[in-house]
Point group: C2
Chain length 201, copies 2
DNA sequence: TGTACATCAGTGAACGCGCGTTCACTGATGTAC
DNA sequence: TGTACATCAGTGAACGCGCGTTCACTGATGTAC
């Protein structure tokens, strides 16, 4: 073989990583393969040594972005309980979800779609293209479970999806609005609404 | 003049109507001017007698779709109180918002994006294109006011935005999911969560 | 009423461009001997 | 150690296509006389 044995796999991962960023930032239609490959120091012809089509790359990138986002959530929920122990008045399980929600509804997440959750950026486009994705199903299910496990919602088991819908909607609206203060206000209002009510110590 | 005095205005409205439908159904990037004009029995060259650019049409179509959606909301909230009088146990102001929410989170709305609210279909694309729109600001503000006026949320005045975010997110997710039952479940869960708790008669 | 003219919504060919995809080729490397 | 060969990731020109936009033109109509 011409290159080291895992060279091709590494290039494939580099393509997926850059594509996942660009799809989230500029949309699927807004991301061309020529500039994508050029940004990696490659020529576009080589793309098809790695993927059967642009759609195959979309699928792989969506999976990568979903995995990355879920890992971030899991890291948050895993790290937060340590803090929660410092404030034992808060029921166990509330603090982790606070961290996830605050992170998700942050100005940083709004302003850097390329690094964030693929749902607010890509879900609508997947729907519009008539390409609903089983990856979306799985992602939503796992996110919902994480939210529900943390007992944020009072509802009988399906509460997580309401919080997720509000978070995805809030980010979508916050990015579409032209007034910065209004955008901040949307994030703050949903953040406040989804937090468990503060308790007296 | 060659045509009746309001002929041009009528054609302009026909273009906006068809465009508003197509933008919501196929996205902005996914809607071409040539097929759009052809669908109206016109040729694409004539487009520029009516609009300066595709972006100008996007703006006009977004305004039309926003107006149409708000009128639908207002019609719902205006019509519903008559029913509410039949069940006086429900506080005045709850029934109208029920009608709006049920309509918004219906299978019909999910399956016919071309006739529905432009936020779930176009907000993300406007954000991605770097074209946040003051029309979106105004639309969100008015929808939020309608929801808040109906006292759905317990929060201090900014509750409407949480309900709107949940509704927009729910529709977006319901359209992106490949499993029909899961999609129905998302709509039902958010519908249930946003309704005021049922009261005994 | 009848004719000549001005108007202008709409026509249709053409433009340059970027798109996704194909394909014959290159050339640096690992392997075989 | 040195040479010949096979591999294959990546190259770069080319393809057909649809896009948004431009523009000289058409021809049905309202208006002026």
């Amino acid at each position: 073989m011409r290159y080291s044995s895992n060279h091709k796999a590494e290039t494939r991962q580099r393509i997926i990583g850059e594509a996942a960023r660009r799809f989230r930032k500029h949309g699927i239609e807004g991301t061309g393969l020529v500039p994508l490959m050029k940004a990696l120091g490659l020529t576009h012809g080589g793309f098809y040594a790695h993927f059967e089509s642009k759609d195959a790359l979309v699928q792989a990138s969506l999976e990568a972005a979903a995995e990355q986002t879920l890992e971030r959530w899991q890291a948050s929920t895993a790290a937060a309980p340590a803090d929660a122990m410092l404030t034992p008045a808060t029921p166990a399980g509330d603090e982790p979800v606070r961290a996830v929600i605050d992170d998700y509804l942050s100005a940083r997440h709004r302003d850097e779609p390329g690094e964030g959750c693929p749902l607010p950026t890509l879900a609508a486009e997947l729907g519009v293209r008539g390409q609903p994705s089983a990856t979306a199903d799985a992602m939503i299910e796992q996110m919902t479970a994480l939210l529900a496990d943390c007992h944020l919602e009072a509802g009988p088991g399906d509460g997580g999806i309401v919080a997720l819908a509000a978070m995805v909607g809030a980010l979508t609206l916050a990015r579409a609005v032209s007034d910065r203060a209004a955008s901040d206000g949307i994030l703050a209002a949903v953040r406040a609404a989804l937090q468990p009510a503060p308790r007296e110590a």
